[in-house]
Subunit: 321 residues, 2 copies
C-alpha cells in the first residue's frame, strides 16, 4: 500500500463538506491562513476550501513538497503570483459548478432592470402606487464578455429566453455554437453601442483588466445596463461609478468589486440604479457537495496518474477549452 | 358607401394610440367615465382604452345601440355584470398582447426570490456585505394556475429556463403541450404541497374567486413562493397576508390586489417577504401600438362581417380556447 498523500485544507472557519470521506483517502490537515505556512510543510496537495482567503503566496516558502493546488472556485487570479506560475505545481479549479447559478444570477439581474423592480421596491417602501411601463428581454440584445464555461452557460440561458446574444472573446469568429458571433476583445468599444445589455463573465488576466473602461462606457447606449459577475477589476470602477451617476449608463448589477468587501466609503452603495450583491452569484445552496465531489474525483485521478480535470493554463490564467 | 360606425372611446386622460387612423374608419367620440352615458347614446362600439376605468354599468341604460365592446386588456371580470352578460353585445379582449410581458414578469419575480434580491437590496441600503446562498430555478417545480394564453406563455418560458412546470385548470388532463400534466382546480389543495412556486394567472370568475384560500395556503411548503399576476380576488388576501406574516409561506410577488390601488392601510406594503408591483405585469413599452392594431384588425372584421378575434365567452368570463 502506498503512503497516503498529505492534503492541507485551507478552511478558514468554513465547515469542510466531505471532510470525513477525504480523511479516508489522505492525511488531512485543516488550517486557516495563519496556520498555513506550518501546515503546508511536507504537504502534497493544497485544497483552498475557503477560496476567499489570502495567504498562499506568504506561505509559499513552505510549499517545497507541493504538487497540486485545487481551488473550488472559478477565478484563480489571486493565485497568479510569479512563484506559483513559474513552478511545476498543477493548479485546478471548479470549472462548471458555478455556471448555472451564475447564469441564473445574470438573468435575474437583467430582469430586475427590464422590469424595474428597483423602482417597485422603492415605491413599496413609500406605499406608493404608480404604474410604469417595463421592457421585455425577448428580442433585446446582450453581449457576453467571456467565452469560458460561465459565459457559455449564460449565453445559452439568455438565448432560451429569447434574447439576441453575441460574445466577446480573445479572437473574433462566427458560427460559435453558443454565441453565433464572437467579437474580439480589442473591438469592445467599437461594438458596445449595439447592445442593450453587457455581461462581464471573463477571467481577470492582464489582458482583461480594465476592459470596461472610459472608452467602452462612452460607447454604450445610455439605456444600457451592465452586469459584472466576473471580477471587479474587469471594470474601471471609478469610471463606471461616474457613468452610472451621470446617466451615461442606465444601470448596473455588480457582484464583484475592485476591493471586497466593498468599502463603506464606496459611492456605489447609494446609487439607485445599481444592484449590489456581495460576490455570491455562484453560490447556490446545493453546491457544496458538488464542489467536494469534484475535488474527490480529481484526487482519484491524481492518485492513479490519470489526467486531471480543470487544469488551469497558468500562462493564460484560466482553464483553456 | 355605408355610414361610418360610431365608436365611443373611454380614454380617461390616457392618450389614445392610433386615434387618427381610427378616425378614418369611424365617427369617434373620446370621453371619460363621467361623459360616458352621454357619449354612449347611439354608439355602435365601445372601446375601453382606459381599461382600469369604471362606469360602463352605470352608463348601460344609454347603450341601446351598442353591438360590441372591446377591452384592450386580458381580464374582463369587471364587465361581467348581468345586463351585459344577458345582452347580445359582443365582448372582445386583448388576448395575446400581454402574454409575453406577463410571462417575463413572472420569471423576474421567481428569480427575485430564488436569488433573494430583496435581501441584497436591504443589505445595500445598510452598506452591509453579507454573503448568502441562493437557489436555482433549474429543476425547481412550479404550478401555473390558469391555462389560457397567459398561463401557457408563462409555462413555456419557465420550461425554457429548466423549471418543472405543471398546470392547474378546470379539468385534469395529461399530455398538454405546454403543461404536460394539468391538475383540476378542485384538487389545488391536494397538489399544492408538491411545488416550490405557485403562479396565479387565471381569469377571475365565480369559480376561481378565492382559489388561494386558507386550505391551499396550509398545504403549501413553508419554503414556497406565490406569484399573483391574475386578479387580487383569486386569493383570500387577508389569509395570504397572515401566511406571509407568520412564515407559513416564504414569499409572494403580488401585482394585483382585492382593492386597487392597494390602500395605504394594507399590511402587505411593509412585509419584507413581499414584492408589490402596481398592476403592471402586462405593461411593456412596446405594447400600445399592438393594442391599437388589434382593435383596428377586429374593427375591419366587424365592418366586413368576418369572424372577430378574442370573443369572450360571457358565460365563462374569458376567451375560451
Amino acid at each position: 500500500m502506498q503512503p497516503q498523500p498529505v492534503i492541507t485544507v485551507l478552511a478558514g472557519n468554513k465547515p469542510v463538506t466531505g471532510l470525513c470521506e477525504l480523511q479516508r483517502e489522505a492525511e488531512v490537515r485543516v488550517t486557516d491562513a495563519a496556520g498555513l505556512p506550518h501546515a503546508l510543510a511536507g504537504a502534497d496537495i493544497l485544497y483552498l476550501w475557503d477560496f476567499f482567503a489570502d495567504g498562499v503566496r506568504r506561505a509559499w516558502p513552505a510549499a517545497g513538497s507541493l504538487q497540486w493546488i485545487h481551488v473550488p472556485a472559478a477565478g484563480v487570479d489571486k493565485l497568479m503570483f510569479p512563484e506559483l506560475v513559474a513552478s511545476d505545481v498543477v493548479l485546478t479549479n471548479a470549472r462548471g459548478v458555478f455556471d448555472r447559478p451564475m447564469a441564473e444570477h445574470v438573468l435575474a439581474a437583467l430582469l430586475h432592470f427590464a422590469k424595474n423592480f428597483g423602482r417597485a421596491l422603492a415605491q413599496q417602501q413609500q406605499k406608493q402606487w404608480n404604474r410604469y411601463a417595463t421592457s421585455d428581454l425577448a428580442g433585446a440584445s446582450v453581449l457576453v464578455a467571456g467565452t469560458g464555461s460561465i459565459g457559455r452557460c449564460t449565453a445559452r440561458l439568455l438565448t432560451a429566453v429569447g434574447m439576441q446574444v453575441q460574445g466577446l472573446g480573445r479572437t473574433a469568429r462566427t458560427g460559435d455554437p453558443d454565441f453565433g458571433t464572437v467579437h474580439a476583445s480589442a473591438d469592445f468599444a467599437a461594438v458596445a453601442g449595439n447592445f442593450d445589455y453587457v455581461v462581464l463573465a471573463a477571467p481577470l488576466t492582464p489582458a482583461s483588466r480594465g476592459m470596461l473602461g472610459r472608452e467602452v462606457l462612452a460607447a454604450l447606449k445610455p439605456t444600457a445596463v451592465v452586469i459584472n459577475v466576473g471580477r471587479g477589476a474587469l471594470a474601471d470602477e471609478a469610471a463606471l461609478e461616474e457613468a452610472l451617476r451621470t446617466g451615461q449608463l442606465a444601470g448596473a448589477a455588480l457582484d464583484v468589486f475592485e476591493t471586497e468587501p466593498l468599502p463603506e466609503s464606496s459611492g456605489l452603495w447609494a446609487l439607485e440604479n445599481v444592484l449590489i450583491t456581495p460576490h455570491l452569484s455562484g453560490d447556490a445552496t446545493h453546491q457544496l457537495p458538488l464542489l467536494a465531489q469534484q475535488f474527490a474525483d480529481n484526487l482519484a485521478a491524481w492518485k492513479s496518474g490519470r489526467p486531471m480535470m480543470n487544469v488551469v493554463d497558468k500562462k493564460l490564467g484560466f482553464v483553456a477549452s
